[in-house]
């Protein structure tokens, strides 16, 4: 009971935040009804997907301060589990998605336990390495289509197929994803106030202090890493049904991992709204850069340069991102 109450309780935010969040939510709810291009719709779905990725990353990376740059491997595990199961055995999304989460979480325990012996930059580099190794394995593994990837052919099904999540129009995908987004938001709102959430924030401050307060630091990190993984894997499964054509390069590459981390880092690591703000800025920017500057002006790779600049600016000036600046201003005003 208390858990549900805590998940639904946003009362510790100032009223202006709640009004802002309410307006954004209303906008998200009515967005598909507005007369907009398919490009805008696709961008919006990307925004929701990366918001959820970012929320997941934010648990371990933001609240826990463990910069994880290997989240793409779990996108891959989720996406591949769903694709393989659908194509080979016709298992619907709502069954394969939880199975994908189990695989991803299982894998996260296997690599998380040794990885969390490492700290700081070493941990970050190790997460990149594991993710790249897994990607290489998938590129060589014929069962999952190797480097060619897998294709879910929509002709075999009769859309709208809610069980398998095969639709013709993006609007269905949009609302399914919005549902996941809202559940995710409530979960994180509970998480940040839970015992594990508090323990992680203490770990971020000082691990020795955390140990001396009875917190099993490594276990707390591994648990949270698994939570972050579950978030990412769910959206990975969704990604498979939405894109219908997955290959290691576009689900498990380093740039996906970096983009996931960047959502929360830019918006505000360790805050509830951070990843959503980050995704709200970066995804339209990314779409625009790809569509216009990349394709039309021939500046391929400009998006990567811009991400790099953002990472440098955030870590040099305000490690807590945009939301960190907002909170700083508020604290200054209060005094």
């Amino acid at each position: 009971m208390e858990t549900i109450r805590n998940a639904l309780d946003f009362s510790d935010f100032p009223r202006i935040d709640l009004i802002g969040a309410g307006l954004v939510l209303i906008f998200l709810l009515i967005f598909p009804l507005l007369p907009l291009s398919a490009f805008a719709m696709a961008t919006m779905i990307q925004f929701l997907m990366f918001s959820i990725y970012g929320m997941g990353w934010n648990t371990i990376g933001g609240y826990g301060g463990q910069v994880d740059l290997g989240k793409a491997q779990y996108v891959g595990i989720g996406a591949y589990t769903t694709s393989v199961m659908l194509i080979r055995w016709d298992i619907p999304f709502w069954v394969s998605m939880p199975i994908g989460v189990c695989f991803a979480v299982g894998w996260s325990f296997i690599i998380g336990y040794p990885l969390f012996r490492l700290k700081g930059h070493y941990f970050a580099i190790a997460t990149i390495a594991t993710s790249l190794v897994l990607k290489d394995l998938f590129e060589a593994w014929n069962f999952v289509g190797a480097a060619r990837g897998l294709e879910i052919s929509p002709i075999k099904y009769r859309p709208p197929d809610f069980l398998r999540l095969i639709f013709k129009e993006d609007i269905y995908y949009y609302y399914v994803l919005l549902g996941l987004f809202i559940i995710g938001l409530f979960y994180i709102n509970w998480f940040r106030k839970s015992r594990l959430g508090f323990q992680l924030r203490c770990i971020k401050d000082n691990e020795n202090v955390a140990e001396s307060l009875g917190i099993n630091v490594r276990w707390a990190k591994v648990k949270t890493y698994a939570i972050a993984t579950a978030f990412v894997s769910v959206v990975g499964s969704f990604h498979a049904c939405y894109i219908k054509n997955i290959e290691p390069e576009d689900t498990m590459s380093l740039s996906i991992s970096i983009l996931i981390a960047l959502m929360a880092m830019l918006g505000g690591a360790g805050s509830l709204w951070g990843p959503i703000i980050g995704a709200g800025i970066l995804i339209p920017l990314k779409s625009y850069l790809k569509e216009w500057l990349g394709a039309k002006a021939g500046l391929v790779g400009i998006d990567l340069i811009i991400y790099a600049i953002i990472i440098m600016l955030v870590s040099a000036y305000e490690p807590r991102g945009i939301w960190g600046i907002v909170e700083k201003v508020r604290r200054r005003k209060r005094r």
């Binding site: 015992r195 924030r201 203490c202 401050d205 020795n208 001396s212 307060l213 009875g214």
Partner: protein
């Protein structure tokens, strides 16, 4: 019955013996001061007892249980809390939240932890500061917060590492009152590392002196203050002239 028994504990860092064959025991309800010059191994001893450093040899018994091999968080869960000399708060947690982390040791419920934390904040006279970030507070208040956080875990034994360092005389007076009330009103056994002699000598039942990793004295404050070895190693002649007579 002894609450804590430290038996022949040695901690070596390479060739350096930071703690060399230290033996003492602590009765329930005592308030013991641990003093000695810089580098004598006081904080190392705390780190060994609280499990942050594995010891090289020896044995540590807490509440009749051998905790020598246990990890820091397992020892903390058995009722041994500590504070740190330098507490670097990155500024993420407010005072109340900090204390709640301690309280979460015994409960999963947020509301229960919050109620407990508020009780402790009131006890430590910190309730007006509960909404501030720890990093925004002056040193004296930060020290009280670290004590409050440790108390959140409802310890049987509390190790205080230099809670009076860097404070002015009136703040020292305040923190001394806090330590006393933790000891008497909450019934917590306390062992404290301190360089502020007025404080140690006034409130301790017993004082243990370390020098170069070895225990050189152990006794009531007046005895220890007269011990020639302690005077030579740490207190100095001037201190003895000024203060020791008051104590005697």
């Amino acid at each position: 019955m002894a609450l804590l028994e430290v038996k022949q504990v040695t901690k070596a860092f390479g060739g350096l013996r930071a703690n060399d064959d230290i033996t003492f025991s602590l009765e329930t309800g005592e308030l013991v001061g641990l003093i000695g010059p810089n580098g004598a191994g006081k904080t190392t001893l705390f780190n060994c007892i609280s499990g942050l450093h594995p010891i090289t040899s020896g044995e540590i018994i807490f509440s009749q249980e051998d905790i020598t091999e246990l990890k820091a968080h397992e020892i903390a869960r058995r009722g041994l809390a500590r504070t740190f000399q330098v507490y670097v708060a990155s500024g993420d947690l407010t005072v109340e939240e900090n204390v709640m982390v301690g309280c979460f040791m015994h409960t999963r419920s947020r509301s229960e932890s919050k109620t407990r934390a508020n009780r402790i904040l009131q006890f430590m006279k910190l309730q007006e500061l509960s909404e501030y970030l720890v990093s925004e507070l002056p040193a004296a208040a930060q020290k009280r917060v670290t004590m409050a956080t440790a108390l959140g875990s409802e310890p049987k034994l509390l190790l205080l590492d230099e809670v009076a360092a860097g404070l002015n005389p009136s703040e020292i007076e305040e923190i001394m009152t806090s330590i006393k009330s933790v000891h008497i009103d909450m019934g917590v056994t306390v062992i404290l590392i301190e360089h502020v002699m007025e404080l140690v000598m006034k409130i301790s039942d017993r004082v243990i002196v370390l020098d170069y990793g070895k225990k050189i004295a152990d006794g009531n404050p007046a005895q220890v203050a007269k011990d020639p070895k302690v005077i030579k190693a740490y207190l100095g002649e001037r201190y003895v002239k000024e203060y020791a007579e008051k104590l005697a």
